[in-house]
Symmetry: D2
């Protein structure tokens, strides 16, 4: 344990530098104007993400624990606090897009300033002996990785609702190997009835919502090896899925009518063909790629229509315990594709494709505390617990998730109507 | 089984008559104007309840199955359909309060008309051999009982938001025995870890959402024998519970600020004392009576503040399996009190007070399908499944629930912000 | 002057009794439930009108001036104040429809109570010497007549948005003479340039907004002798009037699209024919009757389409000075038709039809103060002045206006989007 | 006339260049992020203003009339159309702030491109013989000047709602002469009763809404020589002006309560003193400077409180005919102050200060057509007429109006609740 902690500390500085650099890399293709956009309330401006992740380190590490540190700017706490009521008043979430200042260069300067102090701190052995501090640093890194995923999806939304549909980056040559040309046959994996342990049991970092590991009794079930493809989803559309209330939750059906949903977000039809906006531009929807950018309501309606259902988060976790292949090539943020890829890319993980990476998978579990859950005291305790109502759990990470950030016990959560994340569908047999 | 079914059929007519009469009794104290009110979208006008429950029997029994039956009025289907998309278009829920016609006497005539036909049908042995029909009749009776509870709570809301605060009925002399004068000490009941069976296993009626019985593994837990009292809740208020975000879910805190919640619904303060509107008029809040008319958010915040938590619906059901005393005097619709009463009234059920009746108890479980759940085909299948998102489960029934309608496996559900039902709080130890 | 005042006082009691009775007559065909409806915010429940007009006499006459008078009910001031900030707090306008109590019989009792006291007061010569008091009584009567018109149009709206489209009364045999069978030819009346006097100059009652008489210089203009008919308006509809933005004010065009307006309020099409809801039931739209229930935006768009324009309120008043035939049979509330009639009914006023009565006529004048306007001090001064922004002036009264209430100088005003009054169109040549 | 036209054409090129350059000068202090902000729906992003004014020349001059011209970008018409329904679909006004692309440099390139073509066109004598074309060019220049004023006020709003309250420019040394140190005494100017001519009668450019000149008869009136000062307005505030409904229009009073207005826009109180945000930073409110950034409702309430009233637009125009000193130094956009200045600066115009420039003056006239008004045919006819409802007229220009753009007959118009323009108050005696 001690030696583990020792090597952990040795890596902390380089991890800090890599993660902080990753944020800048994601923002590199943007114009200054892109960085202040908030075209819907769920989206935060990229500049705000850059400032907020920096504010986290300033507020929870530098200001309280590092001698001689002075705040970069007295009003940044007001501008870059997200939802920590403990940390004082803040700009209303819906007003983040009204802030053109501080200008981008000031934010970059703010990052450099905090990074210099943090890098010094990360070499201060005395400081790192305080496990409360290292825990807060670790949380800051994990927090920044979360914002990296949001940055990617927020940028996609910002560009995707611009009538010019600008290209974010050129399509990457795949580092994931060649596409085999045919979609693997979906198979059903059987999981026997049993008592399984759910929740994080390792020694590394996890969020408080993954604790405490506990036993659940699951009936036997079957899960599909692949997530639903665009081609399969088109069959649902063609069969009138969006105009038949019988497949839908009542609240979902109301949204379908209110927003005139007829396909996943970013899809549009032209002369009979479906196209969609991706971060490398508009392209024709490929049938063998996984469907993404669908709400929970759409996932659930599709499952209903197909005669199946979604997995619970417990079933999903057990499935991943048994079948997620950590050595299989995944499709994460680092691949640079920023778009889910066909299951054909993962032939060496024959049984299940992309349990981790590619698309988040909506489960039919509401986001609720595990037995014995208790939030950490203080501001950092505001992290997870206060959102445990009216949201659904997603599992597995996506093509926008940093690879080192995801694990089988990871619990993501969104409201059932959200579509701008890379979300997908894995089916269970009824 | 045959003989069971036989005696069930013998009772059906008198049950039909009693239940139908109960609806009229509930509405008897109302003025015609009261019967058309919809002061908020959740409330339906009493006249609409009377018409809608009648429409149910006309639509699902008489029209399809009884020869010679003609619709009472061709447009009533449009007026009195609630949410059955299968049954065609309908008046928008929010517009129910804009309908002064048909006049009350027409609705009463409609009820008489349908009742005469139904009473004949209930004596038609041939018809009752069709179990699909008897199932629909049973569902119609249970459905009407559900609307009886809503009638009581909707009437309370209609009168309670009138500045004149009119009295619905005089306070009933208790048929529940004399109040002992002191609140019993709350005790903690310990439930051991174990595998328990959840869901309805009897032979009588239950809703589809209570099926299928299935095993769950529960860790050991402790539950309070009594629900939280007004006095205890006042301590939460006095301690600043409504102005400290730390106790609240994020969405709950937003509501507290938006609606300026400072106490349960119907409470108001006058010269330092708390009063509340009840169906027998305004009275001072009694400290030893259970707190009611609180949202899930308030229940959860109270639990947080007190250092405890709410039970899950599975814990609640196991607690009720072990401790609900079916022979204990309950406080149901039939008692006529229409207000929760002190736990002192239930001394012969020493361990737990009012698990059934008195107030619904918010659980910390989201309303989700049980394993293997599948909705019935056709319109009647729209009953439960399509609401299984964004709602929380309540258990146990209230002082407005018909006694024959409730059971330990019954799953009620409301959105977390609703306060106009008779809702209360039972605590578990963390 | 003295003798005039003397005979005025003699008539006051009978006028009071007649006007008060008229309100009850208008409400006689209603069910109790009809009397509490508020299907849109502009509509007030008939019971509220009955209470509010009574509250006016209680508040401004009985309570301050009549010895021994005690308020009928301490909370009625809160319930039945409309917008007099000076008179304390009140039920929000949009919540008037949430009040089922006091029950109808209490309101009728309230009216009887106040009427008895008022009738005594109206025989108290001492009291009537105080001109401030008689002025307030007169204002109360005029005020009640205004509410009679609103009662008719509110009742029409309440019944008209009920899917059953109930009949308010049987069609009246015309007391206005026989219909000649053909629509008179519209002619253009020429008014020469000149300096005209605008505003009330008589000795009887008028509202403060009709004072002070003052001179205006008008260029010569031509006005149509008849208002626009349904047949003419259908030509506008058939010519795509509702789908061509060029005819519309910018804000009007936004409303057309938002509400999908395609015809006047209460019109609907069935198998190619236009029908409309009237107070005597649904009937086919008659081409030679005046179009009514149109917003200012529609009036203005129609005028634009036809190559003409609306009159200003000054032009209208001069036209009426020269051409309104006070002896001509009009179509007012008292005729009992409650629907505008064809111009053919007014042959003995050959030049202009129905300048007074039939339909209010939208002018292209905003509602603004006359030179030297000054509101009365105190609560009664809140009557007119505070609405002098964002409303358009209408002139001439309608089939729902009491005949003794209207005159050529009368200035009515509504927001440009309102359609539930009996509004129509008279054209001027550009 | 011909020679006038000749010299007019000679000046056209340099006017074009100066006006186009002025737009760039106004935007020069902005960051790229500033140029895409839309913090409220009335504000347009500066980049949009830059694009839209350019689109005007491209659409109405270059594309239809200049041989060989090709559109700079096929989608710019969609992006930069404002409200010309005739010109096809467009980005919704409320979504202008969601567009980060095209990037600023593209817009600047767009301006250069169009300017090069326009400059060539402005030297093409053949083309300029077509008076329809020169009229459209002139309209384009006037249109760009209008947007310059909006640019200044929109920029002020964008920066003013940023918590950092950034400075737009350093305060200008006055080119308007020295401040004399004391506020001149307000005096009342008497205008005799008479028949006056209203509307533009010159040979230069005017908008269609200033035509046709026509006679009005005005009663005698008195007008104040100075507009209301901050000091005077503070007396209104101190006297409870914002909390006494009696001074307010009904709709104004509702806004005061809804938005909690307690002072003009941009004012805030600190330790008992009033400060306000200006384009040269936050400063203490100076008592002798004119109050600005008030809605019509506030102007009207102030007038009421002070026992006076606002002028009508006709009174204002006659006052300006008699007393506006065209030679007096004004305070326009070109002064670079971008803030109204004290009346002391205009001593050589002894009778009236700043009828032109400094602040727009709310009149009590609704924006309506003059007699005989008729909109131009085609898209350019959409300019003014379709806004002639629900807006109030303002007169005289402000410190953000280009000097060559304003004249005594100029009719500006805004909704009564708008506060972000430089608006002020001139009183008339009742």
């Amino acid at each position: 344990m001690l030696s583990t902690h020792h090597s952990y500390l040795e890596l902390l500085l380089s991890r800090y530098q890599n993660i902080r650099q990753q944020t800048l890399s994601i923002c590199a293709p943007l114009t200054p104007e892109d960085t202040v956009m908030q075209p819907m309330v769920d989206v935060s401006p990229p500049k705000w993400h850059m400032g907020h992740t920096t504010w986290f380190f300033e507020t929870f590490i530098l200001a309280p624990h590092v001698k001689g540190y002075r705040l970069f700017h007295s009003q940044y706490a007001f501008l870059f606090n997200s939802y920590y009521n403990s940390m004082g008043s803040r700009v209303a979430r819906s007003d983040r897009g009204t802030l053109s200042r501080p200008p981008l260069q000031d934010i970059l300067e703010y990052r450099r300033h905090v990074d210099q102090w943090m890098e010094k701190a990360l070499q201060n052995e005395e400081l790192l002996k305080n496990e409360e501090i290292t825990a807060a640093i670790e949380l800051g890194l994990q927090h920044e990785q979360q914002h990296q995923e949001l940055l990617v999806t927020d940028i996609k939304y910002i560009l995707g609702c611009n009538p010019l549909m600008p290209i974010y980056h050129e399509q990457q040559n795949s580092v994931l190997g060649e596409f085999s040309g045919k979609q693997p046959q979906n198979t059903w994996l059987t999981i026997p009835e049993g008592i399984y342990t759910i929740g994080y049991q390792g020694e590394g970092f996890c969020f408080d919502n993954e604790l405490n590991p506990h036993k659940v009794l699951l009936p036997a079930f079957e899960a599909s090896s692949c997530t639903v493809t665009n081609g399969e989803y088109m069959a649902f559309i063609d069969d009138g899925g969006y105009s038949d209330f019988r497949y839908w939750m009542d609240e979902g059906w109301a949204l379908v009518q209110q927003h005139q949903w007829q396909a996943p977000l970013y899809w549009f039809q032209q002369e009979g063909d479906w196209y969609h906006f991706t971060l490398h531009g508009v392209e024709k929807v490929k049938e063998n790629e996984p469907v993404t950018h669908i709400s929970f309501y759409e996932a659930q309606a599709y499952a209903n229509w197909s005669g199946h259902r979604l997995l619970t988060e417990f079933e999903w976790e057990v499935l991943a315990q048994l079948h997620a292949s950590p050595s299989a090539k995944g499709n994460f943020l680092e691949s640079g594709k920023l778009q889910p890829i066909s299951a054909s890319f993962s032939e060496n993980a024959p049984k299940t494709a992309h349990l981790l990476g590619n698309t988040w998978e909506w489960t039919n579990s509401a986001y609720l505390p595990y037995p014995g859950y208790s939030a950490a005291p203080g501001a950092l305790g505001e992290y997870n617990g206060k959102f445990m109502v009216n949201q659904m759990v997603l599992r597995g990470g996506s093509c926008a998730t940093p690879e080192s950030h995801i694990r089988c016990t990871y619990r993501n959560f969104f409201h059932a109507d959200k579509r701008w994340q890379f979300t997908g569908i894995r089916l269970a047999k009824k």
